[in-house]
């Protein structure tokens, strides 16, 4: 029931987000047609504005946008003038889903075991090594790790391609550079969650009953310990699936992140609104999923 309500509530929420974004991009100084060179006559500029209805009042533009949206049309891009926003999303979304999904998998696959080990072996070398790795990953941003990996594995060792998005081999470096960065964060959160659970009463009781500690931790502790990680995963996955500007520009990958950042910089109003809507849909859906997962993991969680 609660979740059904949330789904129904999502529609007005998306409307609010689209309106705010629509308004916000137009408030930002500078417009899509402010460039280094101006057309030869102010009349040409006026025509450009008129062609994309930018000379109309904002509410009218918004109504027009909603009208188009009801047919599933997000409008033409103002920067890439031979493409519609639907077309751009259609081309770039699969790439971002692949890259983001793989990086997410890597981040969890590396972060959770390291965090778990660090907590269970607290104060021993495994903890120090794990924590050092996690903190290094947190501090070394993808824009340093990416070029470094390219130099080492791509150029010096000739092992992997340095850029572009063609074969499975092309995915390896960007996924590592993106995934490791988040694995550090997940490892830290996992370690903390685990430390919290290890002090809980039921673990102590189980231990007192003489049950094997590892089995207890894995079977009962893990479900609770993973909650902070799960809460973090909703927005993280939404971020990753809608592209990463830095990684995409370092590896020349045709994903959504570049379009969002360049769209914002170019004041490509329609493209930005379209991408934000896509992002919002993903975010709302994933956060719903996260809340659902939390209720499954910890039966004491109640939302109503």
């Amino acid at each position: 029931m609660y979740f059904l309500k949330r789904i129904i509530f999502a529609l007005p929420l998306l409307l609010a987000i689209s309106f705010l974004t629509f308004f916000l991009v137009r408030v930002a100084p500078g417009g899509p047609f402010d460039r280094e060179r101006k057309p030869a006559s102010p009349e040409i500029e006026r025509q450009l504005q008129a062609k994309y209805h930018l000379d109309e009042p904002v509410w009218k533009q918004y109504l027009r946008f909603l009208g188009d949206l009801s047919h599933g049309d997000l409008g033409p891009s103002l920067k890439y003038r031979n493409h519609s926003v639907n077309d751009i999303i259609g081309q770039a979304l699969p790439v971002s889903l692949t890259l983001g999904g793989l990086a997410f998998g890597l981040a969890l696959g590396v972060g959770i075991p390291i965090g778990y080990q660090s907590a269970v072996r607290r104060g021993r070398w495994q903890d120090y090594a794990g924590s050092l790795f996690a903190i290094l990953m947190v501090c070394i941003p993808p824009f340093v790790l990416g070029p470094f990996l390219i130099l080492l594995l791509g150029i010096k060792c000739h092992l992997l391609p340095v850029a572009l998005w063609e074969s499975p081999a092309h995915t390896v470096l960007p996924v590592i550079a993106l995934g490791l960065y988040y694995s550090g964060r997940i490892a830290r959160l996992m370690r903390e969650g685990m430390l919290g659970v290890m002090q809980a009463e039921f673990i102590t009781t189980a231990r007192a009953k003489g049950l094997d500690e590892h089995t207890v931790l894995l079977r009962h502790g893990f479900r609770l310990a993973v909650i902070p990680v799960v809460s973090y995963c909703g927005p993280l996955l939404a971020d990753l699936l809608t592209g990463s500007f830095v990684i995409e520009s370092i590896f020349q990958i045709p994903g959504l992140g570049t379009f969002l950042v360049n769209g914002s910089l170019n004041r490509d109003y329609t493209l930005v609104v379209g991408l934000v809507l896509l992002y919002a849909v993903l975010l709302i859906a994933l956060n719903l999923l996260v809340d659902f997962a939390c209720a499954l993991l910890d039966r004491r969680v109640r939302y109503a």
Partner: protein
């Protein structure tokens, strides 16, 4: 426990001290802060002297791209400026940005998440959807709009009160506002997740049965129990914000040249990684300093967590 401590504060202190790395980290961070605060003052006092010239981060010279040496500990950059001096003076901006962002996420994020999680129902839905909306808005546009409108407003008021020299510090302030406004959202979400699980635990029920009000329960029972996760997330927020600042600078919204920050120094250095010739010190030196500082923050966080953890015996 061997010793029998008297007050909670003393108990916390003794636990803090027992943590092997927490105390040295705290001392190192304090020293760093001291140097960061004192360096500009000393430079100003010694203006004109040899030492001041040596550590002036804005002095250009023809010694471009010198590797680290006795004269330039961290080498020099494209303008022949001493990188050590730039890292030293960039520390101020970066630490301030990181700490302010952490502070915002600590105060707003924790309270927001705790209230939403504890209240549940309609209020929870409303508060968390607000977070969703803010989180969905494109951060670049948000920051551009925020900074340019605020800047326009402030510039005219500053001119009115004849204090245009405040302009530089005002920009820094906008940077804090811009970064702060987006830094607390994930914290709120994580805290809410924890609180949802905590609020139906036995000790909370017991407290409620004894007639404790929601503020008491939140501040005495629930928030202290989330402290571990909160501290960890804060230590994750600090580097994220320091690095995000470099992205804003890249957009022209962060610190203005010739000023430096760690984030922008690292970003500039990373740009130099290429197959033909790499000026490694441009990324390695500021990078190492950032990693070392954050290691210290993490150890300190770990120590604090132990010290205040209500669950540990």
């Amino acid at each position: 426990m061997p010793e029998s401590p008297n007050s909670p504060g003393q108990r916390a202190w003794s636990r803090f001290r027992r943590h092997r790395l927490a105390l040295p980290s705290a001392i190192a961070l304090a020293l760093l802060l001291l140097v960061v605060v004192l360096a500009p003052i000393l430079l100003h006092l010694a203006a004109g002297s040899q030492i001041a010239l040596r550590f002036d981060p804005e002095r250009l010279s023809d010694a471009q791209f010198q590797p680290p040496s006795a004269a330039h500990w961290f080498g020099t950059d494209v303008h022949g400026r001493d990188l050590f001096a730039r890292v030293l003076f960039g520390a101020g901006v970066s630490l301030l940005v990181g700490l302010v962002g952490a502070g915002v996420s600590l105060v707003i994020g924790v309270v927001w998440g705790a209230v939403a999680g504890y209240a549940g129902g309609r209020l929870d839905a409303l508060m968390m959807r607000f977070v969703d909306v803010l989180y969905s808005l494109p951060s670049i546009i948000l920051v551009i709009v925020l900074i340019t409108t605020l800047e326009g407003l402030l510039k005219s008021t500053l001119e009115k009160i004849h204090a245009p020299w405040l302009n530089d510090s005002a920009r820094l302030l906008f940077l804090f506002v811009g970064l702060g406004s987006v830094s607390w959202l994930n914290m709120a979400r994580i805290v809410r997740g924890q609180v949802l699980s905590l609020r139906s635990r036995a000790f909370v029920d017991a407290s409620r049965a004894m007639g404790a009000g929601p503020i008491h329960i939140l501040s005495r029972h629930i928030i202290p129990n989330t402290l571990g996760v909160v501290i960890v997330y804060v230590t994750l927020t600090i580097p994220a914000i320091i690095l995000y600042e470099s992205f804003l600078s890249y957009l022209g919204l962060g610190v203005q040249p010739p000023m430096a920050s760690w984030g922008s120094l690292i970003a500039e250095g990373a740009d130099q990684i290429n197959p033909i010739r790499t000026y490694w010190w441009l990324v390695a030196c500021p990078g190492t300093i950032l990693v070392a500082t954050l290691l210290a923050f993490n150890c300190l966080g770990d120590g604090l967590r132990d010290a205040w953890d209500v669950r540990s015996k």
